[in-house]
Symmetry: C2
Subunit: 164 residues, 2 copies
């Protein structure tokens, strides 16, 4: 079990988050953002103002993952959370993703969210789909051919959901 | 059949769009935006920069409806469109919604989108759900209890989709 500390990130954490963000998005196989998204745009996307909150996961005070937790809808739908997760590719498979996800679920519950919804889980990303299922998420539906995968062509995007 | 003209809206059209936008959102039964959303925020939401495009539907040069057409995802998912529609409540049931939706589907196809996806169709809004079904949309899935309806409590939000 990895000794992971997950905390709310501030502006001072961005320099440690950006290399992770960039590597994950540049791979082009898990997020819809353009693989060459520049740093300033990435920061605006990943560290938006409240009620969104950015989390950072650390091992021995080194950033190894990050999450973004926010309402999936504004106003009359803001009791359902949306979240995104990124793990340093060098740490993949080491339990960081699961630990970060569990901490984010706790944080979402603490903030009063009633459920969590993912809008765009790449169906070819079977590791992520398996992780979400093991954490209680169900596939609500799949948008066919909604993602241009770098090696698999057009693949579906799952919408996943669980109550909190 | 209503004699509807649908065209791309510019900044000069906002004063005619805002009263429709405000009445629709203030009702709190079809959109998640806060019913008291102020005008400046509404304008930013409904007239975002390209690649989004705002449409206005007119009868005898009077605005009777409006649509927002944009990518549902950025980057690697931007071949799927998202759209929102609003009709002057005084014109409800007169064919404006259908005419505007049909014109928006044509515009989406013209812009190269491969499909259209709605993220948050209030399941209690049976007229809208029926209209989308009649236009070839299918319910991909439903997020349970995702919308705080003013009279019906927590109701689901449908995700709907059709190819173009």
């Amino acid at each position: 079990m990895v000794d992971l500390r997950v905390r709310v990130a501030g502006p001072q954490d961005w320099p440690a988050i950006w290399p992770i963000w960039h590597r994950v998005v540049a791979s082009g196989d898990t997020y819809t953002w353009a693989p060459d998204t520049p740093e300033a745009q990435a920061r605006a996307l990943w560290m938006p103002p409240a009620p969104a909150v950015t989390l950072v996961a650390e091992v021995d005070e080194v950033a190894v993952g990050t999450a973004l937790l926010k309402p999936v809808q504004p106003g009359l739908g803001d009791h359902v959370a949306n979240a995104g997760f990124m793990v340093d590719p060098d740490r993949a498979g080491g339990g960081v993703g699961r630990g970060l996800a569990e901490a984010t679920l706790v944080e979402a519950r603490r903030r009063g969210y009633r459920a969590m919804q993912f809008n765009a889980v790449v169906e070819a990303n079977t590791r992520a789909v398996g992780l979400w299922r093991s954490l209680g998420f169900e596939i609500v539906g799949t948008i066919p051919e909604a993602f241009r995968h770098p090696t698999q062509g057009l693949v579906g995007l799952h919408i996943m959901h669980r109550a909190l």
